[in-house]
């Protein structure tokens, strides 16, 4: 790749010579910035919906604070040109390769023993019908021969601390060995799992009732065998009260597999029982036409009257009410395939707590803003892609993975970042050296100097402000969140402004 051979990023030390050095936080270099003279109020935080309802109510209390703002010193931090990619599925693999090609070091963490994720279980991939190995193999080989990418298989993330540019990550491998990594950015590409629909449509009671994913594995292993009738049921365990979302991939997947079965077993009959067919977009609607051309029989069912599956010795009986025909249909099936949704992984909640990033009500990782920042988290330096974010097919996962690789590359290519100047300052003339702040500071950022007066180490201070709110002498000012500013905001919020 030409990128790697060139000296990109130009004015920034390449990853090869910074890998082991500690990230130098260049706190010495500060600059005064007038950007601290702006006070931004979040319309969303103030309920944009009610805002619209009551337009007269201006967000004046932000203005009240702005009147009292002062320019602040901004310390500069260096961004370590190294990324942690969590998850070695197609999304994580794609992001890792892209970042490596841009000249950054990548740690790729996979909890299983092998890279590949969900793709390892799939046979052919719609809409191009290529084998999943054709997609995976060259990429895994590229990763394994890439000196910029370190693969950690059988490894999980245990703990993450720090912030953009200087995350410290503890990972634990299968031998309970803990390794600590220092990275500048983190990409969450942990993927999703397929719902195991225990208790639905006789699943688990009869080996002739399988999920769409198990069917893929059967096709992959050539274990399809002989049969006359296959019945597929869509929306099994999704688009209901428990899981209100559409899993996005199942309709196209069912079309693809049904067509494939009809082609390989021309004597067989294939039925798809659906609620709504969502073969969206330019690529997937043709799959539906293909299926129809191949005489796959599509039967709509009513969510209020779902199909009934009764396994007996000679066959699995499926009876379904068709609202279009207004009659009950009974099918004698050799194989019943349940299209189950992608669901969040069990460990998503744990990881979200480690990274301090949110999950949405369905349990998938949630982006900072659905339209404006669709692959960032609200926390700087952490990004999300693939099915960890929501159910999506491979093309979309790859597109998102390339997207996060670009997003994560921005701060790393810039090399440094001016951080928030929100630190506390001690007024020496007021400090009596009581030590309350020293005990309360969660980061040990405050120490007494030789004269017994408290001193804040700005590089360590993270700006929580507990010291300022506690100082008995009120000698500590929390920059950008001073008591005067907060009181002024409170007054303005009550509709009163001091001149």
């Amino acid at each position: 790749m030409t990128w790697k051979e060139s000296s990109w990023p130009p004015a920034h030390p390449g990853p090869t010579n910074t890998s082991s050095s500690t990230p130098a936080r260049r706190w010495g270099s500060t600059s005064t910035s007038s950007r601290w003279l702006t006070s931004v109020t979040s319309a969303a935080g103030c309920t944009c919906t009610s805002l619209r309802r009551r337009r007269r109510r201006r967000r004046t209390w932000s203005v009240a604070k702005a009147r009292l703002l002062k320019p602040q010193e901004e310390p500069e931090i260096e961004i370590r040109p190294e990324t942690l990619v969590i998850g070695g599925g197609i999304s994580g693999i794609t992001a890792a390769i892209s970042l490596s090609n841009q000249g950054f070091l990548v740690h790729l963490i996979e909890k299983e023993e092998e890279l590949g994720g969900m793709l390892l279980r799939l046979d052919r991939l719609f809409p191009t019908q290529i084998k999943s190995e054709e997609l995976l193999k060259p990429r895994i080989e590229a990763i394994e021969s890439d000196p910029n990418i370190t693969v950690h298989t059988g490894t999980k993330v245990r703990d993450v601390s720090g912030f953009i540019g200087n995350f410290e990550v503890e990972v634990e491998n299968r031998h309970d060995e803990i390794e600590s990594l220092k990275v500048g950015t983190i990409i969450v590409a942990t993927g999703a799992e397929n719902l195991d629909p225990v208790g639905l449509y006789g699943y688990g009671e009869d080996s002739r009732i399988v999920t769409q994913l198990q069917l893929e594995e059967m096709i992959k292993d050539d274990g399809l065998g002989e049969f006359e009738t296959v019945v597929m049921i869509q929306c099994v365990g999704s688009r209901n009260e428990e899981r209100p979302y559409c899993s996005r991939v199942c309709c196209s997947e069912a079309m693809k597999n049904a067509t494939m079965i009809r082609e390989s077993h021309p004597e067989s009959e294939v039925y798809i029982l659906y609620r709504d067919l969502q073969t969206y977009g330019t690529s997937y609607t043709p799959l539906e036409w293909d299926a129809k051309k191949n005489f796959v029989k599509l039967v709509k069912y009513d969510a209020q009257r779902p199909p009934e599956v009764t396994p007996e010795d000679e066959a699995v009986w499926v009876s379904v009410y068709s609202p279009l025909l207004d009659e009950d249909i009974t099918l004698k099936a050799d194989l019943v395939v349940l299209s189950t949704p992608l669901i969040p992984r069990d460990d998503a909640k744990g990881l979200s707590q480690i990274l301090k990033v949110p999950l949405n009500p369905d349990g998938f990782f949630m982006e900072a803003h659905v339209k404006l920042r669709p692959i960032d988290f609200a926390t700087d330096g952490i990004y999300v892609c693939g099915t960890a974010h929501s159910p999506k097919e491979i093309g979309e996962s790859v597109a998102q993975a390339l997207g996060v690789a670009s997003r994560a590359a921005i701060p790393m290519a810039q090399g440094n970042l001016r951080t928030a100047a929100i630190v506390s300052v001690v007024d020496e003339s007021k400090c009596s050296g009581c030590g309350t702040c020293i005990e309360l500071c969660p980061y040990n950022a405050i120490q007494k100097d030789e004269t017994g007066i408290a001193r804040v180490t700005a590089a360590v201070c993270k700006g929580c402000g507990v010291c300022g709110a506690s100082c008995p002498e009120r000698a500590i000012t929390m920059q950008h969140f001073t008591n005067e500013q907060l009181e002024a905001q409170g007054l303005a919020a009550l509709g009163r402004v001091d001149d």
Binding site: S42, A43, A44, G45, C46, T47, C48, T49, S50, L51, R53, R54, R57, W61, S352, Q353, K356, V357, P358, L359, N360, P361, M366, H369, V370, A378, I422, C434, T436, C437, E439, L440, P442, Y443, K462, G463, C464, G465, V466, G468, A469, S470, C471, P472, E473, R474, M478, F481, N483, L486, E487, Q489, G490, L491, A493, L494, G495, R496
Partner: protein, 258 residues
């Protein structure tokens, strides 16, 4: 026009503000009575700021932070809890309904919870009605009391006590003596009582210099107690004798350097 409570909310940057944001982007409806002020950590909400806003006529104040154990700053929300206890204590002493104050934990993913809490608190404050110190004719006695509570929260003694509380209660003092929460609470109750009364006296004297007897009538406290506090205030340099009128000294308040 129907009464619309004016509620000031202090939201921590990392959990609650993000939770409010989520409520917004998820288009969850909730009453617009909450005026949001962002702070980095709920532990940064100084009791004196809250009491000052209450003294200015806010109908309610709501503080929200990360859930215990989830604080972005490790344990800032524990500090928030301690500080909130003092705020509430002082507000109650001043005679304000404790229902006008609220401390809750909201995570970044709890947009719905945030909306529900705002709705519940708004209704709670609506039932209490407008703050007695809001509007054109604020209740003068409560106004004085709230100002005294604010001054007490700005004073060294209560701030130092609250600052040391977490460590003393959980780890014991430097001699290794354990202090139980009950003992601590009892001691705090006395300290709050004393500080609040002293600042009430100080503020009353600031309005106009007067005698202990007159103060006793105005503040409905026994003369003996007032005298003890006046003596203590004199030692602190907050009060001095202005003149001797008849046989009783007239006291005046001195400006306390900020």
């Amino acid at each position: 026009m129907a009464f619309e409570p004016r509620i000031v909310g202090f939201l921590c940057n990392w959990c609650s503000y993000a939770g409010a944001d989520l409520a917004g982007v998820s288009r969850i409806q909730y009453p617009p009575n909450l005026r949001v002020i962002r702070v980095m950590c709920s532990g940064r909400v100084d009791p004196s700021v809250v009491l000052s806003i209450l003294a200015e006529g806010a109908d309610g104040v709501m503080i929200t932070g990360c859930h215990i154990g989830d604080c972005h700053y490790i344990d800032g929300n524990l500090q928030a809890k301690r500080k909130y206890a003092l705020t509430r204590h002082l507000a109650e002493k001043a005679g304000l309904e404790p229902g006008r104050l609220n401390l809750e934990w909201v995570s970044a993913s709890e947009g719905q919870r945030f909306a529900n809490l705002v709705r519940e608190f708004t209704e709670q404050v609506r039932v209490l009605g407008p703050s007695p110190v809001s509007g054109d004719s604020p209740d003068p006695a409560l106004q004085l009391n709230l100002n005294a509570a604010k001054a007490a929260a700005e004073g060294f003694r209560l701030r130092a006590l609250v600052g040391k509380e977490e460590k003393l209660v959980t780890e014991g003092n430097i001699y290794g003596e354990e202090v139980s929460q009950e003992e601590w609470d009892q001691m705090m109750t006395e300290a709050v009582e004393t500080e609040f009364t002293r600042h009430r006296i100080h503020l009353a004297l600031k309005e106009h210099p007067t005698s202990v007897k007159a103060l006793s009538e105005r503040l409905s406290l026994p003369s003996k107690e007032i005298l003890e506090h006046v003596v203590a205030l004199r030692q602190r340099g907050m009060v001095d004798i202005q003149e001797i009128r008849g046989s009783s000294p007239i006291y005046m308040a001195l400006e306390v350097p900020q």
